[in-house]
């Protein structure tokens, strides 16, 4: 079996395993429930119901997707090691990086399938609440917003898998959730720490700014609901930044797992 087919076989197994997780369906039901709730709430507002539907339903997808990415990601490797299910697989002539990458692709594939289902529900809602039967937003801008959201979720899944390669599921969950939250405040962190008169604090602020993922840059929802253009050079550069950052995270995960002594 060559590396590519091993990679896809591992990804397929991880996808099937992830799709069997009951928590996934709980999160999916929760997110779709929030999307439906946004439609109910839009009926008790003044003025502009489609804004409420768009904002709350895409936020629900973002939150639900993030929860899925982290919960599935932290279990992807750590739980396999804890349950000793990984050993028969790793005993085969499969490189460890292939194993990590395969597990990651399974997780991210599951998250993307669920996000697409939620996005379908949200799009139908937005279309139903748009003025005079026309979709409220430019299709390219709407798709770009969803695309940036997928990059953000791919990074969160990558971070969860990274922590999962060298620590327990619980610690990996806490660490990746913390990084996911901190990733929305990197610019603020740099701004506040940069005001310090002590050079070390400023340097720490600068280091954190470059080391943490800048997830706020990959958020286009506020611009979408204000009718601002999204699919432009800035969005493409932001997506490229996200993919490069993801590459760094996955290389670190593979590297860390290669050097790990398994009991």
């Amino acid at each position: 079996m060559n590396t590519t087919s091993a990679l896809f076989a591992l990804a397929r197994v991880a996808l099937v395993e992830a799709l069997r997780e009951r928590i996934l369906y709980g999160l999916l039901a929760f997110a779709i429930g929030l999307i439906l709730l946004s439609a109910v709430l839009s009926n008790v507002t003044l003025g502009w119901p489609v804004r409420i539907v768009t904002d709350l339903s895409l936020s629900a997808i973002s939150l639900g997707g993030a929860a899925m990415a982290i919960l599935l990601g932290v279990r992807s490797v750590a739980s396999e090691i804890e349950r000793r299910v990984a050993y028969p697989v790793l005993a085969r002539p499969i490189a460890r990086w292939t194993y990590v990458l395969g597990r990651y692709l399974g997780v991210v594939g599951t998250v993307f399938i669920n996000v697409l289902l939620m996005a379908l529900a949200a799009t139908i809602m937005i279309a139903a609440y748009s003025h005079e039967g026309f979709f409220q937003y430019a299709v390219s801008d709407y798709l770009a917003t969803l695309g940036l959201m997928l990059v953000r979720l791919a990074i969160l899944a990558g971070l969860a898998v990274l922590f999962s390669t060298f620590t327990s599921s619980t610690v990996a969950f806490i660490a990746s959730t913390g990084l996911g939250i901190a990733g929305h405040f990197t610019a603020d962190l740099r701004h506040f720490l940069g005001k310090s008169e002590f050079w070390l604090t400023r340097t720490v602020g600068e280091a954190l700014y470059w080391a943490l993922p800048d997830l706020a840059t990959l958020e286009a929802l506020p611009r979408l609901i204000h009718g601002e253009p999204i699919l432009n050079t800035q969005a493409i550069v932001a997506a490229a930044y996200g993919l490069f950052y993801l590459g760094v995270v996955l290389v670190l995960a593979c590297w860390r797992f290669e050097g790990r002594d398994l009991p």
Partner: protein, 299 residues
Amino acid sequence: MRSRWVYALLLVVLAMGTHFLHRQAVVGVAERETAGPLPNARVLRFLTSSHHTSAADLYWLELVQYVGTEAALRAGWPDLEALADLVVTLDPKYGYAYQASGILLSTAGRIDASNEILERGMANVPGRWQLPFYAGFNRWYHQRQFREAGELLLRASRLPGRPDWLAALASRLFASSGSIDDGIALLDLMIANTEDPLLRDDFIRRREDLVLEKMLRRIEDRAAAFRAAHGRWPQRLEELGDREIRAFLPTPLGQTLRWNPETGEVRSLYLQDRLVLYEPKEEPEIREVPPTASTEESP
């Protein structure tokens, strides 16, 4: 078997207790005049990070529910400014929030607060024609500042999406310095551009005030002319022979009119305070307003 009955009984008692307490809690909320403790807008803006628009939407929904609360309505919405400030601090580009809050504050008689939030909106969402338009209405209707009203309407008339005849209305405001017909035209425009029943009802009520005021003045003029010609007041308003007055009398607003043939006084049961016509001492000058950016938010 016996334990089943115990569970069933327990379930019924707890369900009834829950329902009773829930009703009490809901009544408590409905009777509340204030919106309850509100978070610091700047802190919440920071904490919600890139989801600040969703937080703004949730507080906007709270504002709408608050405005519709009977007790808050009776108290004159004391927390309206704080809620509106929270919403527009969370999302400074929320054009409709500035517009609706401005109108609601104007309805509550807090004109300075209304102008303040509309001006804040004009700075943050410069392409939204409704903001200078409603600020102009405040100047015209409440503050009798016709020059400023004209300038604001002129500014609104230069923005994308505005109704075609807004420029003509702005010119009329400059020229006539606030005739009743201009006010009715202004309110017709506002009614046509407002879908929300709460705001529409307020504009319709204000329009009815102006229509009544216009008719009262017409009756007073015709009655004075009648007395000059006949040396007495008419016994009934139909005697005036004015076609417009005669057509108005059977309408619901016309039914509220009361004529006193002894004193020649006419009043409406509906219009408690007569509106006063402001006569400026000099003709206002039309000042050039610099064109603004056209970043229009959706409806």
